[in-house]
Amino acid sequence: MTAQPAPTSDRAPASAACWSCSGTLDRDGLFCESCGALQPPRIVDHFVRFGLPAAFDIAIPALDRRYFELQRRMHPDRFAARLPKEREYSLQHAANLNDAFQTLKAPVRRAEYLLALKGRPMRGSGQETVDDEEILVHAMAMREALAEANTPAAADAVVADACAQFERVTKDLAAAFAANDLAAAARQTLRLKYLDKFVEDARERRRP
């Protein structure tokens, strides 16, 4: 795995003092050590927020665990009886955690985020010019296959195939990130995005 700054070294801001009592903050900079007040959220990337290495190949159970642990301490329900300022901070903390969790949990969003973090942002779907003919042709072929599937079982088979491809591309993407080959990672991310959208649309179509 490529060397990313170990998240722990980024963590303790050390500089700041508690907004309420000017006391020193705990190691994570989340609470005041003297008065226990919740501190305002700092601007950190999603990986740092969860204490995870900035890599594509992350352990989802570890992400879940960190998310639960942090929400347990930060969620507004924990601050219902506290000062308005702490309630406001807890709301911001919890919203940040939810955003970070949603981004890192889904492979496509995690890949896009990681590319942006490494200075190679993807362009949004709106303006995207797909110059990769292979990806385009493949995506169209799959849409056709779905349109031609005239029994639920046939449609399920097309979707199952797409899901299998999704797994394969995810592996390739992890390898590209691990080798720090950002061009390849961007290309695999685009493929993954098409597959994700395809599976999503197929599911949506079956909704009552």
């Binding site: 003092a17 639960f68 009886a81 000062l83 009552p208």
Partner: protein, 638 residues
């Protein structure tokens, strides 16, 4: 307990009252309950007869009103004085109320526009006021039973309630002198009760069919965390709809027997009440027959279970279809679940139990009374919020939130089933050269076209500097808080022009209306607010004093003798005003004390200057990272 011991609400001298307690309230379409929890042991509060359910019916007579059994009983003789099922109108506007199928049950006043009003017993009332009356009764019951002051509550709402209905519920609580600690979704509250009482772990579906609303939620219960994975439902689907099918069947029979009659809204209410009796009877019996007296003419109507099943089958199938799509949203199949929990009185219906068992492939759980489980969960959450807890609820948005774009299309900003609280932004641009204003129209729902979704709010962002089309960058931020309530702000990024609205629902009460109602409602809301602000000021002051005490102990040597005397003097002054009942001098003294200790705080900061420098570089680095993330254009959400 003697009634005389109860003080007029809002007039109880605080020092003499026993410590107030927060309750959990299930404000239902047909019945409501209030429960309280101590040491994680929730209890439904019952009347002298042991009844926990309070019928959500209100009888309005000249000069008095009654909530509960008496009001429901009066339905037979004075239907025009009784309101039932008011929850179905919460957050509804005069214009969109026509979508509510059972409008005939109410005599509506749609003349004034805005929020719909109900004519009953010679009064014209909003659903917020009527719900407020029910909440007041529940609060009174709790205060009498517990002999304690009740000012705070967790109130449950259907997971599928939209922003307007949630705001209306909060407003109703305010009228009843209750501070809402949290609005909790009904299925989530039920899961909490099961999880804590039965120690359930795993993935559960909560099938919640109440009097007027249907919800199904899928939750993961793990390590004391209750994580909602997906939710769905319908706000106009419940036992009432079963009753209406039966009532229509009866009225149809009646027309065949004695010819057509003109049917008034009172007749509909009466027939619905008889239909409800019939349906409840058929839960335990195969067949029965009931008298129906309208306009002085009596007819008898018989019904058996098979016919009932035929009448309600379409509605039951609708719930199963919704359950199917919620499971799909959670990416689960029925066998993946650990269990299915039944919630809500209408789940007693045999056909519902049969179809739920068939669809999920297992017998549903009913260990906790389906009528009481939501209130018990609400009470547990009220205790958790006021006294702490190891459990944590992580809920989601039930419906997608978005904006109207050109062509009447919806651009989704917050997709359904996003964990809350959440803040998500999307950038939009102008479509005409020199455009200086933009209409922001906030909608809620899953449809592509604006017209098919619920309109939540509209506002204009004005003063955009004239630019060529597509050059302006309007950043719209959607923030949903832990109650599921939305705030929207819009900002023109290049100029920094900013506007913010707490989403006042299109069909909500205006601030003026709300103020009038508050004034009319025995003034206790005002006392409540003043009291709360005073308490907050005291807590703030207490915290400041504690912090300074601590700082003086550890770093007191940073001060000269004179400086120390001044700080001591200011602290004494704050302590003296803190015991008063006026918060203004407390706030003033807190400010003065803050100023007096500024230099001291700065010197303490200097002691950690090295760390401070290290921190600058870290946050500068973080800024850069965040900026990289910020350049991701909108639309790349999937």
């Amino acid at each position: 307990m003697s009634l005389l011991q109860i003080h007029e609400p809002g007039k109880t001298p605080l020092p003499h009252a026993r410590k107030s307690i927060a309750v959990g309230i299930d404000l239902g379409t047909t019945n409501s309950l209030v429960a309280v929890s101590e040491n994680n042991k929730p209890l439904v509060l019952r009347d002298a007869h042991g009844h926990g359910l309070v019928p959500s019916a209100v009888l309005y007579q000249s000069g008095s009103m009654h909530v509960g059994e008496l009001a429901r009983a009066a339905l037979q003789d004075h239907p025009e004085r009784v309101v039932v099922s008011i929850k179905r109108l919460m957050g509804r506007g005069a214009e969109d109320v026509m979508r509510v199928a059972d409008q005939l049950q109410y005599e509506l006043d749609t003349s004034s526009g805005g929020m719909v009003r109900v004519k009953v017993g010679g009064r014209v009332l909003t659903p917020v006021e009527i719900s407020g009356h029910i909440l007041e009764e529940l609060r009174g019951r709790a205060e009498r039973t517990l002999n304690r002051e009740v000012r705070q509550a967790v109130i449950t709402v259907p997971a599928h309630f939209d922003d307007g209905a949630r705001t209306a519920t909060k407003d109703a609580a305010k009228l009843a002198g209750l501070q809402v600690l949290r609005l909790v979704n009904e299925p989530t509250a039920a899961a909490l009760a099961y999880g804590l009482d039965k120690g359930a772990e795993g993935t559960y579906a909560i099938y919640d069919l109440g009097g007027g609303t249907f919800d199904v939620s899928v939750l993961r219960l793990e390590m004391g965390v209750f994580q909602v994975l997906a939710t769905g439902g319908h706000v106009q689907l419940g036992g009432d709809d079963f009753d209406r099918a039966v009532a229509e069947h009866f009225l149809h029979d009646r027309t065949r027997m004695i010819g057509a009659d003109k049917v008034t809204s009172g007749d509909v209410k009466r027939t619905m009440a008889v239909a409800r009796q019939a349906r409840e009877h058929l839960t335990e019996h195969e067949t029965g027959s009931w008298p129906l007296e309208l306009a002085g003419r009596l007819t008898w109507h018989s019904l058996d279970q098979a016919t009932l099943n035929t009448l309600i089958a379409p509605k039951v199938e609708q719930t199963i279809e919704i359950a199917r799509s919620v499971l799909a949203d959670a990416r689960l199949d029925p066998p993946d679940l650990t269990g299915v929990v039944l919630v809500g009185g209408a789940t007693r219906t045999p056909l519902v139990r049969k179809r739920v068992a068939e669809f999920f492939g297992r017998a549903p759980l009913t260990d906790i009374d389906p009528d009481e489980v939501v209130a018990l969960g609400a009470a547990l959450q009220a205790e958790a919020l006021t006294r702490g807890s190891d459990a944590l609820l992580l809920d989601v948005t039930p419906l997608s939130l978005g904006l109207e774009t050109i062509g009447g299309l919806v651009e989704r900003v917050v997709p359904r089933n996003t964990p809350i609280p959440v803040s998500l932004a999307q950038e939009f641009t102008t479509y005409q050269d020199g455009q200086t204003a933009m209409a922001i129209h906030v909608v809620q729902g899953e449809r592509e076209l604006v017209a098919e979704n619920r309109s939540l709010a509209r506002f204009d962002l004005r003063g955009i500097p004239p630019m060529t089309a597509g050059a302006a960058r309007i950043r719209v931020l959607f923030s949903v808080d832990a109650d599921g309530l939305l705030t929207v702000s819009a900002e023109e990024v290049t100029s920094g022009l900013r506007q913010q609205v707490a989403v006042k629902p299109s069909y909500g009460l205006s601030d003026g209306e709300m103020a009038d109602m508050l004034r009319a409602s025995i003034e206790h809301a005002k006392d409540d607010m003043t009291e709360r602000l005073l308490r907050e000021a005291r807590v703030d002051a207490e915290r400041l004093l504690l912090a300074i005490d601590g700082a003086l102990r550890s770093d007191g040597n940073l001060l000269s003798e004179g400086e120390r005397r001044e700080i001591d003097h200011q602290m004494g002054a704050l302590r003296r005003v803190m015991v008063g009942t006026d918060r203004t001098p407390i706030l003033d003294r807190v400010d003065t004390l803050n100023i007096a200790t500024e230099a001291f705080a700065a010197r303490r900061m200097d002691r950690g200057i090295q760390q401070a420098l290290a921190g600058v570089s870290v946050s500068a680095l973080a800024d850069r990272l965040e900026a990289g993330e910020g350049t991701r254009p909108p639309g790349a959400t999937k």
